[in-house]
C-alpha cells in the first residue's frame, strides 16, 4: 500500500516534474518566440519605415517631374460629337429624307504592334475580314510599314448592323485590339428618286445641294457637340461634354402619294415617246408638273423629268450607256449632272403660250377695259404694224365672245383685247401676277426672269400683240401656277411654298409657316368670271382632253413655239383646276419638246393631266360630280379606280362631244383640237395616213390631229406672221450661275449681240424686239439685260 502510495507519489512527483519541465520548456519556447517576434516586428517596422522614406523621396525628388508628366499625358484633345441633320417629312409624316448614324472604322496600328498578345494581329485581321470584308493583306502591310500609326480610316460609313457583330467578337476575344469606330451621320432618302429635284441631296459635308436641302440647309443643320478636357483653376483636369444640337425637321406640304402618282404618269409619258422621232433620245426634252393648293399656295407635288436617285445622285448609268459616260469629259459630265439635278419647275424658263391668255383676259376684265360682252372677229390672221400674225386656225374662228376667245384660244381675239387694254395695263397686271419677279418659293435655284420680260417703255405694237398670248416673254412654271392660282381663287396671290412647319429635334413645332397672301391681283368678281370662262374651256373648248371622267374641271391649254421659230419645237402645257366650282387643287403640266414627229398638241400635256387627276382627285377626297359614261366606267374599272363599277350610265360621251364641238386649236401651235369654225364633225371617213396613223384632210391633204382634226403640219404654223421676228437665243435666263452659258449660236439676221448671256444654261427661246424694229441699234441695251 505504502509502496503503491510511494509509487503514486513518485509518479505524481515525476508528473509534476515533467509538467514543470514542460512548462519551463514552453516558457523557453515562448521566450524564444517572443524574441523572434520582436526581431520580426523590427524587420517589419524597418521595412515600413524604409517604404515611407521611399514614398517621401518619390514625392520630394520626382514630384515636379511627375506632376508635369501627369498633366502632360492628360487628354486635352477635343472630340467632335456630330449632330444629326434634321429630317424632311411630307404632309403625312412620311420620311422623305433622314440621317442615319454610321460608323467609320479606324485602325490603331500602334495598339496592335504594342500588344502583348502574340495573336493580336492575326485575330484582329481575321475578325475585320469576317465582319467588314476588308483586304487584310493590304492592312497587314500597312501596319508593318506604319507601326506607330494611330489613326487610319479603313472603311467609311458602315451601318450599325455590320459594326455590332464585330463588337461582340471583340468582347469575346481579348486579342482583338486597335480598332475603334468614329460616329458620323449619313443622309438617307428612303424613296430614292421620289421628288428628287424638290428635295435635293446632301453630301458627306452636311451641305445641301438643290431643292429643300440647299434652301433650308442652315435650318436642317444643327451644331456639333464637343467633348474636351481642360485644366481647372486648381490644376485638376476636367472633361466636359457639350452635346450636339441636332438639326430641325422640315414638314412639307408635299404628299408622297400624290408625288408618286405624278411621277408615274410623267415617266409613262416619257417612256412612251422614247426614241419615237429623234433617234435615241428621251421621250421629252424637259417635263414638269406642279400641283398646288390654290387656297394656300402650298405645293402638293412637284416633279420634273427625269428624276434621279438621291442616294446616288452622281450615277448616270440609268440615263446613259457606259460608252456614252466614258466618252464624256469632266465638263460634259458636270453639265449633264447639273441638267439632271436642277428643278425644271423653278429653274427653267420658257414662253408660257396660251396659258397666259387667262392672265390677259383677267387683266382686261379687272381693269375695266373689258366689259365682258365684247365680241371679236377672227379671220385667221391680223396685221399688227406691218406684221401679219396668224391665228393657229388659219381659217379663222369667226365671231367669238370673251369666253369663246379663251375656249378656242383665239390669238386674233386676244390681240384685239391687247389693243383695247394697252401695253401699260397689260404689263401692270402681268407685273401684279409676279411675271418677271421671283416667287420666292422656298426651293433653291429659282430662276430670275426680270430680264426676260418686256419693259413697257420699249414695247412696240407687235410685242404687245404676241405677249397677249404668252409669247415673247419668259416665265418659270412656279411663276405661272402661282399667278394662275390667284386668277381662280378670288384674286389672292399666295407665295408658293413647300415647307409648312419646322420642328426641332424633339419633335416640337418651333415655326409654322402660314399661307401668305402677297397681293390681290384681281377682284373676286373678276376671278369668278375667269373661273367660269376657264371651266368652259374644259367643257367645250380646247381643254376637254384633260377632263378626268366624272369631274368638272377648268383650265387652259398652251402651246408655245420655241425659239428659234420654225424648227418645229414646242412647249406644250396645260393648267387645270378642280373641282371647277371650288378649286381645291391646281395642276400645271409642261412638256418641252416631246420626242414626236409632230409636237404642237397641247393634248400631250392634257392627257398626262387627265391621268394624274383621275387617280389623284379621289385620293384627295374630291368626289365625282357627274355621272360616268359606259366608256368611262370601263376605263376607270381597268384602272381599278372605281369604287362601284356598276354606276349608272352617264350622259353622252363628254369628250367626244366636246371634241366635235371644239372648233379652235391651240394658240401659236396649230394643234389645238378645233376644226375650222363651223365645219362638219370630223368624219371617220377620213383616210388614214399609213405612216403616221393620222387622218388626212380630204380637202387639203394635210395630216390632221386624230383628236382635234386640225392640221398638224408644223410648217404652216400660225406664227408664220412672226417670221420677221427674229430670235436671239443667246439671251438666257439667269440660273444662279450653275453653269456657264455656252450657247451663243444663231443670231443670224440682225446680228444682235450674242455674247450677252448671263450665266444660265437655259436654251429657252427669246424674242428679240429689236429685230422687229428692223434695226440693231438698241441691241446693246438688250444685250446688257435691260430687258424689253
Amino acid at each position: 500500500m505504502s509502496n503503491r502510495r510511494r509509487l503514486k507519489r513518485d509518479s505524481r512527483a515525476s508528473r509534476e516534474e515533467r509538467r514543470k519541465r514542460e512548462h519551463r520548456e514552453k516558457r523557453k519556447l515562448f521566450r524564444s518566440m517572443q524574441q523572434k517576434l520582436i526581431i520580426f516586428f523590427a524587420f517589419v517596422v524597418a521595412a515600413l519605415v524604409g517604404l515611407g522614406f521611399r514614398v517621401a523621396y518619390l514625392s520630394h525628388a520626382k514630384g515636379t517631374e511627375y506632376s508635369k508628366q501627369v498633366l502632360m499625358q492628360q487628354r486635352y484633345d477635343s472630340r467632335t460629337l456630330p449632330y444629326k441633320r434634321g429630317e424632311i417629312l411630307d404632309a403625312n409624316g412620311t420620311k422623305l429624307a433622314y440621317s442615319e448614324k454610321v460608323y467609320n472604322l479606324i485602325l490603331d496600328a500602334n495598339e496592335i504592334t504594342e500588344s502583348r498578345k502574340e495573336d493580336a494581329l492575326t485575330e484582329t485581321m481575321s475578325a475585320l475580314s469576317k465582319c467588314f470584308q476588308v483586304d487584310t493583306i493590304e492592312l497587314t502591310q500597312y501596319i508593318k510599314e506604319n507601326p506607330n500609326s494611330q489613326y487610319y480610316v479603313v472603311k467609311k460609313r458602315i451601318p450599325y448592323e455590320e459594326v455590332d457583330p464585330f463588337l461582340s467578337a471583340k468582347e469575346e476575344n481579348a486579342s482583338i485590339c486597335g480598332v475603334w469606330f468614329e460616329e458620323e451621320y449619313k443622309r438617307q432618302y428612303p424613296n430614292n428618286t421620289l421628288a428628287s429635284s424638290v428635295i435635293g441631296f446632301t453630301g458627306t459635308d452636311n451641305n445641301g445641294t438643290y431643292g429643300l436641302e440647299e434652301f433650308y440647309n442652315s435650318t436642317l443643320n444643327g451644331s456639333n457637340g464637343r467633348e474636351y478636357g481642360y485644366l481647372s483653376e486648381e490644376s485638376t483636369l476636367e472633361r466636359t461634354t457639350i452635346p450636339a444640337q441636332d438639326g430641325n425637321t422640315l414638314v412639307t406640304s408635299l404628299d408622297a402619294n400624290l408625288q408618286a402618282i405624278v411621277e408615274k404618269y410623267m415617266l409613262e409619258f416619257a417612256a412612251e415617246h422614247r426614241g419615237e422621232y429623234r433617234e435615241g433620245e428621251d421621250g421629252v426634252k424637259n417635263m414638269g408638273v406642279i400641283m398646288m393648293n390654290p387656297k394656300t399656295g402650298e405645293i402638293m407635288a412637284m416633279a420634273d423629268y427625269p428624276s434621279f436617285d438621291l442616294n446616288d445622285p452622281k450615277n448616270l448609268s440609268t440615263f446613259l450607256s457606259e460608252e456614252e459616260i466614258s466618252a464624256m469629259d469632266d465638263k460634259a459630265t458636270y453639265d449633264y449632272l447639273n441638267r439632271l439635278w436642277r428643278n425644271y419647275c423653278i429653274s427653267d424658263t420658257y414662253e408660257p403660250g396660251s396659258v397666259a391668255k387667262s392672265l390677259t383676259v383677267a387683266a382686261g376684265l379687272d381693269s375695266g377695259k373689258l366689259k365682258g360682252n365684247e365680241t371679236y372677229f377672227c379671220g385667221g390672221k391680223m396685221n399688227v404694224s406691218g406684221h401679219e400674225i396668224k391665228c393657229h386656225n388659219h381659217a379663222g374662228h369667226g365671231m367669238v365672245d370673251l369666253s369663246g376667245a379663251l375656249e378656242k384660244s383665239c390669238n386674233v381675239a386676244l390681240m384685239q383685247i391687247g389693243e383695247q387694254e394697252g401695253k401699260d395695263t397689260l404689263m401692270q397686271y402681268l407685273y401684279n401676277f409676279n411675271i418677271g419677279l421671283k416667287t420666292n418659293v422656298d426651293l433653291s435655284g429659282e430662276a430670275r426672269t426680270n430680264t426676260l420680260v418686256y419693259n413697257p417703255e420699249n414695247m412696240v405694237a407687235s410685242d404687245l400683240a404676241i405677249s397677249t398670248f404668252g409669247q415673247g416673254y419668259n416665265v418659270t412654271m412656279i411663276q405661272m401656277i402661282s399667278a394662275f392660282c390667284s386668277v381662280i381663287n378670288g384674286g389672292k396671290y399666295y407665295e408658293p411654298h413647300v415647307v409648312t412647319q419646322i420642328r426641332d429635334s424633339m419633335g416640337t413645332t418651333i415655326k409654322k409657316i402660314e399661307p401668305r397672301v402677297l397681293k390681290q391681283t384681281i377682284s373676286a368678281t373678276t376671278s369668278d368670271t375667269m373661273r367660269e370662262y376657264l371651266t368652259n374651256v374644259c367643257i367645250t373648248g380646247t381643254g376637254v382632253t384633260a377632263v378626268p371622267a366624272g369631274y368638272e374641271i377648268g383650265g387652259k391649254t398652251g402651246t408655245a413655239e420655241k425659239q428659234p421659230r420654225g424648227t418645229g419645237n414646242y412647249v406644250m402645257s396645260f393648267m387645270g383646276f378642280a373641282p371647277a366650282d371650288d378649286p381645291q387643287v391646281v395642276i400645271y403640266c409642261v412638256i418641252d419638246e416631246p420626242n414626236v414627229a409632230d409636237q404642237p398638241h397641247s393634248t400631250f400635256a392634257q392627257e398626262v393631266v387627265k391621268k394624274i387627276l383621275t387617280e389623284a382627285l379621289p385620293y384627295l377626297h374630291i368626289y365625282r360630280t357627274r355621272e360616268l359614261t359606259e366608256e368611262e366606267t370601263e376605263e376607270l374599272s381597268s384602272l381599278n379606280l372605281l369604287e362601284n363599277p356598276g354606276e349608272p350610265e352617264g350622259e353622252e360621251g363628254q369628250e367626244s362631244d366636246a371634241e366635235a364641238e371644239s372648233q379652235d386649236g391651240e394658240s401659236e401651235g396649230q394643234e389645238g383640237e378645233g376644226d375650222p369654225e363651223g365645219e362638219k364633225k370630223p368624219g371617220s371617213d377620213f383616210a388614214i395616213d399609213p405612216e403616221t396613223g393620222y387622218p388626212i384632210d380630204p380637202d387639203t391633204g394635210e395630216l390632221l390631229n386624230p383628236n382635234s382634226y386640225s392640221p398638224v403640219d408644223p410648217t404652216s404654223s400660225d406664227l408664220d406672221g412672226l417670221e420677221g421676228v427674229k430670235n436671239d437665243p443667246s439671251q438666257t435666263t439667269d440660273q444662279q450661275g450653275y453653269e456657264p452659258s455656252t450657247n451663243n449660236n444663231d443670231s443670224n439676221s440682225s446680228g444682235v449681240g450674242a455674247g450677252s448671256s448671263i450665266g444660265g444654261d437655259s436654251v429657252d427661246i427669246q424674242y428679240n424686239p429689236d429685230s422687229l424694229r428692223g434695226g440693231n441699234s438698241e441691241s446693246s441695251d438688250f444685250g446688257a439685260g435691260a430687258g424689253f
Partner: protein, 389 residues
C-alpha cells in the same frame, strides 16, 4: 485550492484587444471611402454606376464582419482539431479552378464561381496554411528544432505554394503563402542560423535572376521582351524605357505618388485614376498618395504598423502556442502583403500583383482577412490578464 480559486477569480478578467478592433474598423471604413474615390470613374465608364465596386465591396465587408464575429466567438482551439481538414479543404478549392467552376478575369484564371459568387481560392489557402501550420507546429512541440520537423513544415507550405503557382500562375500569392509559413516556422524554431542562411540564399538567387534577365535582354535587344515576369523585372529597373507597355502601370503609379505633394490633391481629386486601369486593385496606394499626399500615405503605413504591433502584443501574450502561432501567421500575412504591395507601388521591387489589405478591392480577400482578424481577437479574448502581469 485557494490558489486555484484565486486563479479562477482572476480568470474572469479577460483581455480583449479593442485597439486592434478599432484599427481594423477604421481601416475598413477608410478603405471603402478610398475605394469609392478611386473606382467610381472607371465604374461609371464600365457599368454606368459609379458605386458599382463600392457596393460589391460593402457586401463583402459585411460578410467579412459576420465572419470576424464568428471567428472571435468560436474558441480557436476548435481549429487545432480541424486544422488538417481546413488545409485539405483550402487545397481542394484550388484544384477546382481548372474545372468548369473556374473563372477567368483579365486573362488570369484565378477565381471560382459558385452560385454566382466569385471566390479567390488563394485567399482561402492563406488562412488554411496559417491554421494547419500552427496546429502542426503545436503538435510537434519541442521537436521543431529537428531537421525532420523543419522539412515537414516546409513541405506542408510548399504544396499549396506550388499549387497556387502552377494552377493559377499567381506568383505573388504563392510567395505570400510560403512567406507566411516561413515566418511561422521562424517564430517557432529557436534557431537563427538556418533562417539567416535562408534569407541570404533568397537574396542571392534574386540578385542572380535579375542579373541574368538583364544580360538576356541586352543580348536580345529589341526583339520583344519574352516572358512577362522577365519583362516586369526589366521594367522595374528602367520604368521609363518600358513606359508604353510593361511598366505602364508602375510608372503611372509613380506619377501618382510623385504628383500628390505633401498633402495631396484632395480626396476624389486624383487624375491618375483615369489613367491607371483597375487602380482600385493593386495600385490603390498610389492613388491614396496622390489624393492625400505623402502625409496620407505615411499615416496609412503607420496604421498598418500599429495593427502589426497589436498583433505582436496579442501573439506574445497568447495563452498557448497554438494561439500565438495563429496570431503570428496572421501578422506575417498582413506584414508581407502590406510591405510587398507598397514596395511594388513605389517600384522598390518588380511588379507583382499583391493587394493592400482592407483597402484594395477584392471580396474574398477582405472576408478572409477579417476572419483572420477574428482569430487574433479570439486569441486576445482568451488571454488571461493575470498571466500577463
Amino acid at each position: 485550492m485557494a490558489q486555484r480559486r484565486k486563479r479562477r477569480e482572476k480568470r474572469v478578467v479577460h483581455f480583449f484587444d479593442y485597439t486592434l478592433l478599432l484599427l481594423v474598423l477604421f481601416l475598413l471604413l477608410f478603405g471603402l471611402v478610398v475605394l469609392y474615390s478611386v473606382s467610381s470613374y472607371e465604374a461609371n465608364i464600365k457599368f454606368g454606376d459609379g458605386a458599382y465596386y463600392l457596393k460589391k465591396q460593402i457586401i463583402a465587408t459585411a460578410l467579412g464582419l459576420v465572419g470576424m464575429i464568428f471567428a472571435t466567438v468560436i474558441d480557436y482551439h476548435v481549429w487545432n482539431k480541424l486544422a488538417l481538414w481546413v488545409y485539405i479543404f483550402s487545397l481542394a478549392t484550388v484544384c477546382l479552378i481548372p474545372t468548369s467552376l473556374g473563372r477567368e478575369y483579365n486573362g488570369a484564371r484565378r477565381w471560382l464561381e459558385i452560385g454566382g459568387v466569385s471566390v479567390q481560392p488563394a485567399e482561402i489557402v492563406k488562412l488554411g496554411v496559417i491554421i494547419f501550420v500552427a496546429a502542426l507546429i503545436t503538435g510537434i512541440g519541442r521537436g521543431i528544432k529537428n531537421r525532420k520537423a523543419f522539412g515537414v513544415i516546409v513541405g506542408v507550405a510548399a504544396v499549396p505554394t506550388l499549387m497556387i503557382f502552377l494552377i493559377t500562375r499567381n506568383m505573388s500569392s504563392a510567395i505570400i503563402i510560403f512567406g507566411i509559413a516561413a515566418v511561422m516556422l521562424f517564430m517557432a524554431d529557436p534557431k537563427y542560423l538556418r533562417y539567416i542562411g535562408l534569407v541570404l540564399l533568397v537574396i542571392v538567387i534574386a540578385v542572380f535572376a535579375v542579373l541574368i534577365i538583364q544580360k538576356k535582354a541586352e543580348s536580345r535587344q529589341g526583339e520583344g521582351t519574352g516572358d512577362f515576369r522577365q519583362s516586369r523585372v526589366l521594367a522595374w529597373m528602367n520604368p521609363e524605357a518600358y513606359a508604353s507597355d510593361d511598366s505602364f502601370q508602375t510608372l503611372q503609379g509613380l506619377y501618382a505618388i510623385g504628383s500628390g505633394g505633401l498633402f495631396g490633391k484632395g480626396l476624389g481629386e486624383s487624375i491618375q485614376k483615369m489613367q491607371l486601369p483597375e487602380a482600385q486593385n493593386d495600385m490603390v496606394f498610389s492613388i491614396i498618395c496622390e489624393e492625400l499626399g505623402v502625409f496620407g500615405g505615411l499615416c496609412l503605413i503607420a496604421l498598418f504598423g500599429l495593427l502589426l504591433q497589436r498583433c505582436l502584443i496579442v501573439a506574445s501574450n497568447a495563452p498557448d502556442t497554438f494561439g500565438a502561432l495563429l496570431v503570428v501567421g496572421v501578422m506575417g500575412h498582413l506584414a508581407l502583403q502590406v510591405i510587398l504591395n507598397i514596395a511594388v507601388v513605389t517600384n522598390t521591387i518588380p511588379n507583382t500583383g499583391v493587394t493592400l489589405p482592407f483597402i484594395s478591392y477584392g471580396g474574398t480577400s477582405v472576408i478572409f482577412l477579417l476572419a483572420e482578424i477574428g482569430l487574433v481577437l479570439n486569441v486576445s479574448l482568451r488571454t488571461r490578464v493575470t498571466e500577463r502581469v
